[in-house]
């Protein structure tokens, strides 16, 4: 899936791009238990960077904007911590063949401007977001729907020949159908993403400048104000009909230039909820905050991807997967996550992150185990690393240097393959090198769930030509297996098929899994019930403010 949220932590000037940071929504579970009385109208504050772009459902990809949008909009469905679906604005989402889907809405919902939410609100919004002329970054999410190639041709210079997606049909006020070009068993899970939110009629009357400055949504909160680079305020929408009504009066998103500053303010009581602790404070934050410290896994993974187009891996012959297996087994993940990364990551055992439907223990089939002897053996058996030298490209502005050096050391010590970090000055330069296929050897990569199904971590990354497949990995055998898993009748079967594929990925080694991300955050004494979703963002509606 192309074009999901990216570049997390763009706090003020400093871009700390963690990885591809997609947002799925994911609101589940809250643990509101505290003796002090709760003020149902209490307002709390959250640390946030300035959203990079206007707040549009079709263009909000990075985490700062997503955090706000998650409060303003409700989508048809949402998912629980185990990856299973719950209905939000939808009464039901049904299909018999995974190709034609019928959506029934809960009646009586209204937008914050008072107009009703109907099936047309959805269909119009999707058409608008998918249309090439609106150039929305998340448009490709509609690629499954019939007629997408007419509304949004991909090739450069192409003109769109239709304004509306052929596959979307309004049946009545509260029902519409979606026809896909082929069966997609996990399409229902995708609907939780913000790009599938409805838009009120008033949206289309706005001009490009005001659009996205004061969004009118259908979610638990309504927009109040956006004082650029200072704060964004949203307040509870009392007409909200959904299951996740806000337990507080509203949220103030405060802008900080650095995470360090935010942490200092948390300690002095000027901000209530943090989304992340700065590396400097990680060693002490558990002591400082006690049971208000958060340390929780979320569905994201860091990997080292292989630039298969590079001469090193291609000439004179395609690299043997055993060589990459060997490199993988030469990395001491346990020690690096504990020391260099301060326990903020958890060693990965496979390619699919935790909290995703179909996650399995040891999905990597042992390929992530640290075993220097075996590593050496595998590399030798595979014909050795060409030139006996590798480099790992990373962006130097993202705090990646330390672990890249550690990984290199680990590989060098275990296998005597020379390894150096290839630092690009910033995320922009790193991205451009990847896009223009200039990566010389390996590069740092990552993935945060778009939707909580294991297909998202396999098909969207390793299929030939997939959006997330930037290393030009291509294998016909694997493509066939993915196509088969995608054409499964039910979601269950598809998930199982993908589980089998994951176990098998060891034989292709499209990338080297490193570790799963964790939320390391904290909150103040003023609030309780702070929980974090699979995308790593705090769940706004569950927070309770003490009197």
């Amino acid at each position: 899936m192309r074009g999901a949220k990216s570049a997390k932590w763009v706090t003020g000037a400093i871009i700390v791009a963690l990885a591809a940071t997609a947002c799925g929504g994911g609101k589940s579970g809250d643990s509101g238990s505290d003796a002090k009385a709760v003020d149902p109208n209490g307002i709390f504050s959250i640390e946030l960077g300035e959203p990079e772009k206007p707040l549009l459902t079709g263009d909000t990809m990075e985490s700062n904007g997503s955090a706000v949008m998650a409060g303003l909009f409700s989508t048809l469905v949402d998912y629980k911590a185990d990856g299973s679906l719950t209905m939000v604005n939808a009464e039901s989402v049904t299909t018999t063949d995974s190709k034609t889907w019928t959506v029934k809405l809960k009646p009586g919902w209204t937008f914050h401007d008072g107009t009703p939410v109907t099936s047309k609100s959805y269909v119009d919004a999707w058409n608008w977001n998918a249309s090439l002329k609106n150039a929305q970054g998340l448009a490709s999410w509609f690629a499954d729907i019939k007629g997408y190639d007419k509304v949004h041709p991909d090739a450069e210079g192409a003109k769109q020949t239709a304004d509306k997606l052929e596959g979307l049909k309004v049946v009545d006020e509260n029902t519409f159908t979606i026809e896909l070009t082929k069966s997609v068993p996990y399409f229902g899970h995708k609907l939780a993403y913000i790009v599938f939110a409805p838009l009120p009629d008033s949206f289309y009357k706005l001009d490009a400048k005001t659009r996205g400055q004061a969004p009118v949504g259908n979610g638990p909160y309504k927009f109040k104000s956006w004082d650029h680079k200072k704060k964004i305020e949203i307040t509870r929408y009392d007409g909200y009909k959904g299951p996740n009504k806000a337990k507080n009066g509203g949220v103030v998103f405060k802008n900080y230039t650095t995470l360090e500053a935010a942490y200092e303010d948390l300690k002095s009581g000027n901000v209530d909820v943090l989304r992340q602790i700065a590396p400097k404070d990680l060693p002490v934050y558990r002591q400082d905050l006690g049971d208000r410290a958060v340390d929780q896994a979320y569905s994201a993974i860091q990997t080292i991807a292989v630039a298969f187009y590079a001469d090193q891996w291609k000439k004179p012959k395609q690299v043997d997967p055993r060589v990459i297996q060997g490199l993988s087994m030469a990395i001491d993940r346990a020690t690096i996550t504990k020391t260099v990364l301060n326990g903020t990551r958890e060693p990965a055992t496979g390619w699919v992150a935790k909290g995703v439907l179909g996650f399995q223990e040891d999905g990597g089939n042992g390929v992530t185990k640290y075993d220097p002897a075996k590593a050496k053996e595998l590399i030798k058996a595979g014909g050795g690393v060409p030139g006996n030298k590798i480099s790992i490209q990373y962006n130097a502005d993202g705090g990646h240097k330390e672990w890249v050096d550690a990984v290199c050391n680990s590989i060098q010590q275990a296998t005597s393959v020379q390894c150096v970090g290839d630092g690009k000055p910033d995320f922009q330069a790193d991205l451009t090198a990847r896009k223009t296929k200039q990566v010389k050897s390996l590069y740092r990569s990552g993935w945060v769930l778009d939707y909580p199904v294991n297909a998202n971590f396999i098909s969207d990354l390793f299929r030939t030509g997939a959006g997330g497949n930037q290393g030009d990995f291509s294998n016909k055998e694997l493509d066939a297996k993915i196509a088969k898993a995608d054409s499964a009748k039910t979601l269950d079967e598809s998930v199982k098929a993908y589980q089998a594929i994951e176990k098998d990925l060891k034989n292709y080694m499209p990338s080297i899994p490193l570790w799963y991300y964790k939320v390391n955050a904290g909150f103040s004494e003023k609030v309780s019930g702070v929980a974090y979703g699979q995308d790593g963002d705090p769940i706004l509606t569950g927070v309770e403010v003490k009197k």
């Binding site: 791009a17 002329k133 949004h152 090739a155 210079g157 405060k254 002095s268 922009q428 451009t432 896009k435």
Partner: protein
């Protein structure tokens, strides 16, 4: 005098064009594509990228972009819009400038009052204990990097003593700006003090001082008018260029104290390849520099009537 001012104003035009062109070219020469980066790790299809580029006018050659940009800026005072969020650059700058200006004024005031104050004390007591103390103190400030000084002040006064708030709130008050202003003005303060001290110590031995004392003028007048006026020329020169430096050099200080001013915008614009924002910013900074240096040059004549402008 009038002709001199007119000539100086005319000279500003090539300087202005040159600097903006340089900045524009430099931003474009940096590796990394702002449109590509809008879509992050996961990217977008070529059609969307092309549509975005066209919408932003980034598909035109660089010289055309520069030409249109300068035309809009000069004719309509339109600095263009930011690439990512489409906010007009004037609005972005309008948000960021007041706070930096506030900080700059405060820092400048601290620099002026304490710098000249310490300099006078040191200059009049050259070679004695007070002078030596001041020299050691200023040496200390000059040798500590700005960010270290910032963190030390924060650590001591905010965390250990609890006298000040560690960070500047989103709606800043003057009192919160004192600590960052001290950090920002600190380095220049040391230079001002040393310049004033040396200049005064030297002039104390000048002929006109001897004459003034011999004429029996009161000490206050000898020092206040005769000595100060002549000793201030190098100090004023330094102060003038320093105004610009304070405006542009607040990057580190603003970062440490969570101030959403020019510093942050500069850093952000560079990392996001926001050419138009940067040029807008630099243009304003250049104007500040040019105007202050002109004012300083004119001030010379007031301080020293021997300096004349044709």
């Amino acid at each position: 005098m009038g002709r001199y001012v007119a000539r100086r104003l005319l000279q500003m035009i090539p300087v202005f064009l040159g600097t903006t062109l340089l900045i524009f070219a430099m931003v474009h020469a940096l590796p990394g594509d702002p449109v590509l980066a809008m879509f992050g790790d996961k990217g977008a299809d070529p059609a969307t990228l092309a549509a975005k580029r066209h919408e932003l006018g980034l598909d035109k050659p660089t010289w055309q972009q520069y030409f249109f940009y300068m035309r809009d800026m000069i004719l309509h005072l339109d600095f263009g819009s930011q690439i990512r969020n489409g906010r007009p650059v004037t609005e972005v700058l309008g948000d960021a400038f007041p706070i930096t200006l506030q900080l700059g004024v405060l820092a400048f005031a601290i620099e002026l009052v304490f710098g000249i104050g310490l300099g006078i004390v040191g200059g009049l007591r050259a070679g004695r204990l007070a002078d030596n103390l001041i020299l050691i103190f200023t040496l200390l400030i000059i040798s500590i990097p700005v960010f270290v000084l910032g963190y030390i002040i924060k650590m001591v006064f905010a965390f250990n003593l609890g006298w000040i708030e560690p960070n500047v709130a989103t709606e800043p008050e003057w009192s919160q700006l004192i600590a960052p202003a001290v950090v920002l003005g600190g380095l220049s303060l040391a230079y001002v003090a040393r310049l004033t001290r040396t200049s005064m110590a030297e002039n104390l031995r000048a002929d006109y001082m001897r004459t003034a004392v011999a004429k029996g003028l009161p000490r206050r007048r000898v020092i206040g008018v005769h000595l100060m006026r002549n000793s201030m020329i190098p100090v004023v020169t330094f102060l003038g260029t320093d105004i610009g430096a304070i405006m542009g050099g607040a990057v580190v200080t603003e970062f440490i104290f969570n101030i959403h001013g020019i510093g942050g915008v500069i850093a952000e614009s560079i990392s996001r390849r926001e050419g138009s924002t940067l040029v807008g910013l630099v243009t304003i900074l250049v104007i500040v520099y040019l105007v202050t240096s002109l004012l300083i040059d004119l001030l010379y004549a007031v301080l020293d009537p021997r300096i004349r402008y044709a």
